[in-house]
Amino acid sequence: MPLSTFSPVIAELGFVVLAACVFWAGCKRFGKWPTTVFFLGSVLWTGPLENFAVIRGAYTYYGYASQVYHAYPGYLMWLGLLPFWIVLGWFVFAMSGFLIFHDVLLTKKRALVQAAASGLFAVNIDLMMDPIASSNSLWMWLTGSFKVFGVPIFNFLGWFLLIFVYDLIAWHTIFHSKPMRGLDVAERAIFRKGTPVDEQIHSGRLVFRIIALETVVIILLTVSTQLIDYVAYHVV
């Protein structure tokens, strides 16, 4: 299929506008500082994870490279090997899910349930988005993993984990100051002094939680991809 040079422009500009709208909504609901921290946290959360996947050769974002002129990489703004609109997209879905499920639809449920709903909602959006985006070469799947509609199954698990875990991090660290199960022992050892007041966002703790859980998610995805592929190719 011939590539339309308008597709990357629409995607890039579209997500800049949408991220601005979501940022505005977040500021209105939670205030400027928590929304800014949520945004910066989502950049730190998704940037390394996505770059790691690109380096591993799972996919590439250079489908439109050299389309306009020889040295043009395909998109205007980049974060390593990742177009910046992808990071903005993660922020849009993470904040939207957070607002819809924590603030409106599941207000009386546990944070875990709210985060799971947000994760499933994001997977649902990706089920619609990914086949279109990959067939338009906005990103291209290079992996030999088992695919459904041209999209590897581990991708959907990745979407769920990214939104689910970041939702929990944000709820426990940015919007509340609560311990996270599994990390509290390490945190007690690292952050002995200066325990935060309830109203403050402890940036050191946020960065620690993001990096620690990022590592866990990367390991989990690497292992589960092998497992999914083994089951898909050998058992089914």
Partner: protein
Amino acid sequence: MTESSEAEAAQKSEVTRVITGVIFAVLLIFLVVLSIGSPIVTIGNEAESMAYSVLVFLPVVVVCVLAILKSARADRASSLTQRTPGSLVGSLAKKTVRPADSDQGKGQTQPPDIKESARAG
């Protein structure tokens, strides 16, 4: 129900409309704008891709519509509660025991402006 909770419900409703608008814009960009040139047909034959689109499209729409309805209902309920007779009596009572009146040695309570109280909620 206080004025601040009414304002919060209104704010929540407005924010929900913006957020769901953003989600619909994402669907619009991908399902309509980027689908020109029929890339979605690469999913399978035309009927399969249509069924797939509807299947994945529906839950997102349902969640967004539910969120809009729930936040709008909360907003409406909160504005109605603000205007019930009970809350009117409460606001009148507040006005009659205004400490500033007794501090200034006026001794008498001011006759409250009912219309004003009702408007203020």
